[in-house]
Amino acid sequence: MPNDLLERCGIFVTCQIGDDVPYLIKSCMGENTLMIGTDYGHADSSTELDALTTLKDGGGISAEQHRKIVEDNPRVFYGLN
């Protein structure tokens, strides 16, 4: 199973603070398919307005990996570049 299957298929996934993001990066997901969101406007188990900051401060990932998740990857996925 190629370890870049998701990237080859053009598949992106939003993670949440409860996910083991370092493990996901090392597994089949790599660094280029993860994004994160706040679920702003709702108030349920997914909602965390500080999610992007919390991931940076306590996600166990490097600054570059954080930048990919909160900047590079969503800009590619949503065609913002």
Partner: protein
Amino acid sequence: MGWVDADAHVVESPLTWDYLTPSERKFRPQLFKPEDDDQKAHWVIDGKIRGLFRFTFSKEDLDKKSAQIGREMSTTMATRDLADVAARIQHMDELGIDIQILYTSIFLDQVTERPDTEVALCGSYNRWMADVWKQSKGRLRWMACLPLLSMPDALDQLEFAKENGGCGVFMRPLEGARQISDPYFFPMYEQAEKLNFCIGLHQSNGSAAAVDMMINPDGSRDFFNQYRIFNVGAMFRIINCGIPQKFPKLRFGFIETAASWVPWVIY
């Protein structure tokens, strides 16, 4: 460059339906407020309660909830329903967010089986979003809600979205009685690919029958079985049905479903 909030929401309000064309005003949804619940109001569409309810939490409710569970979720109604776009932008600045991608709330559930109703409501929603995008000076981008019951109208509204700040198509893992691998959707996938639009498969369910079947015995919602698990299956289905090979430049996103299950599906 700056931070992108890859999953944010709007909460529709009566303002959303001010964008109906004159001939479509007969489809205007009404709000029903339960007597015993001040935290939600229900949309009445075609004479029935349909679509995801409108969250009407006060900021004070959310301040208390945030303190109780240790996660910040406090917003005002005006920032949620974009009655005050400037206030939303200011809050984004406080959170360090440059761009938010807006997903719907009402369309997370199926709103109708009638193509004419869906064309009207989606058109109004998409025109509202276009206006919000302009007011935000590009900091609020949005996912188009297309009337997929009528493919010609869906393709028209896709073009409109591209020209007016949209950046993708919102889809549900079940769309009525159809799976997302259904060739019925291929004309839309083809056009989205040409327009460099992604497909955002947000945790949701476009099959009212499936949602009703999976409700808890006491009538309460079961977000995992009614919504989340269908997105997990959708990833398997997209890969297994060869959709990436058919549309090699089309990107699919799995939104608000967390990610810990992905290795399980892939392996």
